[in-house]
């Protein structure tokens, strides 16, 4: 029994497009790792310094960008001082775009309430250097201003002056590098958001307590959007996600039924 794979592509496309056009409104319930992350951020005192590292590119934008927005909403709502950076070149652009989208809503000023340090190549080496001296690792911000002259960076020397680090990770460099240096070497409180592909690997860090919370894929982003009451593209995509998954489960069942029925027919002959 042969089925043209393009027929399957067509059905998957329909399973995604139709719920986007006509949402079903299926509930999105926060899972334990996401709730934990939310609670840790919620428990930080006003004015805490949060470092967000945008370690992803455009290929994982649908999963990690909504996560970035939801986190920024939470940080600005809680009046935290936000420092953003990127270990991936495109991440710097996404950080700038996300800050532009969210900061204005909360009346936050660049330099006073948040700063974007930009991209730096080197992964582990960059994180390691930041543990010693952040202004030396990032002498200038994304706009080319001297970091030492930016008010929000006053008193920020290294990781000891940061209250929480959150890594938005699409691969390497990403969560494992931050776990090794920021958590392992400097005992910093570390949270992570990652693509669904890498989530199973990083659950080990969550179980061991090296990560305080973990947002996995678009689902993790949707759950965080629900918690911060800022529904965005991730929540809007959850119906399509559920429909596509249901279709794939159905196709797996049908394929197995077809396989075993053919096998039984052959055995009868």
């Amino acid at each position: 029994m042969n089925l043209d794979r393009r027929v399957i592509f067509l059905f998957i496309a329909l399973a995604v497009i139709l719920p986007l056009l006509r949402p079903l409104g299926l509930p999105v319930l926060p899972s334990k790792p996401v709730q934990k992350m939310y609670d840790v951020i919620e428990d930080l005192p006003d004015g805490s310094r949060v470092l967000l590292s945008f370690d992803y590119g455009s290929s994982t934008m649908p999963e990690l960008y909504p996560m970035s927005l939801a986190l920024l909403h939470h940080c600005f709502k809680r009046n935290f001082k936000v420092i953003t950076m990127a270990l991936w070149p495109e991440g710097a652009t996404f950080a700038e775009q996300a800050l532009k989208e969210v900061a204005e809503e909360y009346g936050k000023t660049y330099g006073e309430d948040y700063v974007h340090l930009g991209f730096k190549s080197g992964g582990l080496v960059v994180i390691s250097a930041m543990g010693e001296n952040i202004p030396e690792t990032f002498p200038q911000d994304y706009q080319g201003k001297m970091v030492k002259e930016i008010p929000v960076m006053n008193g920020v020397q290294n990781f000891q002056d940061i209250d929480l680090i959150f890594d938005l990770s699409a691969g390497d460099p990403g969560i494992p590098a931050w776990v090794m240096i920021a958590q392992g070497r400097h005992q910093k409180v570390l949270g992570g958001g990652c693509t669904a592909v890498s989530a199973p690997q990083y659950f080990a860090y969550l179980q061991s307590g090296q990560l305080v919370g973990l947002l996995g894929g678009m689902k993790g982003a949707a759950e965080y959007e629900v918690l911060v009451e800022k529904k965005g593209t991730a929540t809007a995509g959850m119906d399509a996600q559920s429909m596509a998954h249901s279709l794939i489960i159905l196709l797996i069942l049908l394929a197995n039924i077809a396989f075993f029925s053919q096998k039984m027919k052959k055995e009868k002959r």
């Binding site: 995604v16 290929s59 649908p62 710097a92 240096i181 080990a204 996600q241 998954h245």
Partner: protein, 206 residues
């Protein structure tokens, strides 16, 4: 200008998805554009965000120690000249040696010692029992110095089942990731690109 950007992105998306029907020149063009732009973007960002603030500007301010990494960087570029390509191995060996020295212990601590420590759990819940049992049987499966027979063989087989469950979960997450990317592109096409065409202006509330 913004609409032009949306149209370029939409046409490139459709060009890439045309591969699902079959391989074709339009797909190839889009693929090459993506690779070229990514490389150019990476180069420009690295120059602006790394070379200038961390090397060139401090060097001009008198930090002459930076000449050493600068020379190592230039030596690395010798790879493009086949006759003296061997010079790049000096820089490479410096990077490998330095990375090993700086991060070997940290890597072992974070990815081995802390993970082993996290399995020392009291047997007071089903989750803990499952976790310890899964780790032990999984490790038995990877012990190849003894033939997998008898009690040892059965334990290794149980380990395989645990591994299969882990692979299944991993596959499920992979499916979720791929569908998420498709959703992201569809949201863009439906709610950002189509509304630029007068006929579809109502889509996405626009």
């Amino acid at each position: 200008m913004e609409i032009l950007g949306i149209w370029i992105a939409a046409l490139l998306t459709l060009a890439l998805y045309s591969f699902l029907y079959k391989d074709n020149p339009v797909y190839k063009i889009a693929e090459h554009i993506f690779v070229g732009i990514s490389a150019g973007y990476w180069l420009a960002r690295s120059y602006r965000d790394v070379v200038l603030p961390n090397f060139w500007n401090p060097l001009l301010e008198g930090n002459f120690l930076l000449i050493i990494p600068g020379i190592l960087g230039v030596m690395m570029l010798m790879r493009i000249l086949p006759k003296i390509g061997w010079i790049s191995r000096w820089s490479l060996s410096f990077i490998i040696g330095m990375t090993s020295g700086l991060f070997l212990i940290t890597y072992l601590q974070s990815n081995a010692v802390d993970q082993v420590r996290a399995t020392f759990l009291p047997l007071n819940s089903i989750n803990n029992v499952l976790l310890i049992f899964g780790v032990l049987t999984g490790l038995v499966y990877f012990f190849f110095s003894k033939e997998h027979k008898g009690v040892f063989g059965v334990t290794a087989k149980v380990g395989i089942y645990f591994l299969m469950v882990a692979f299944g979960a991993s596959f499920g997450y992979t499916v979720m990731a791929r569908i998420s990317l498709l959703i992201g592109r569809m949201q863009f096409l439906l709610f950002e690109w189509l509304p630029t065409i007068p006929l579809f202006r109502g889509l996405g509330g626009g």
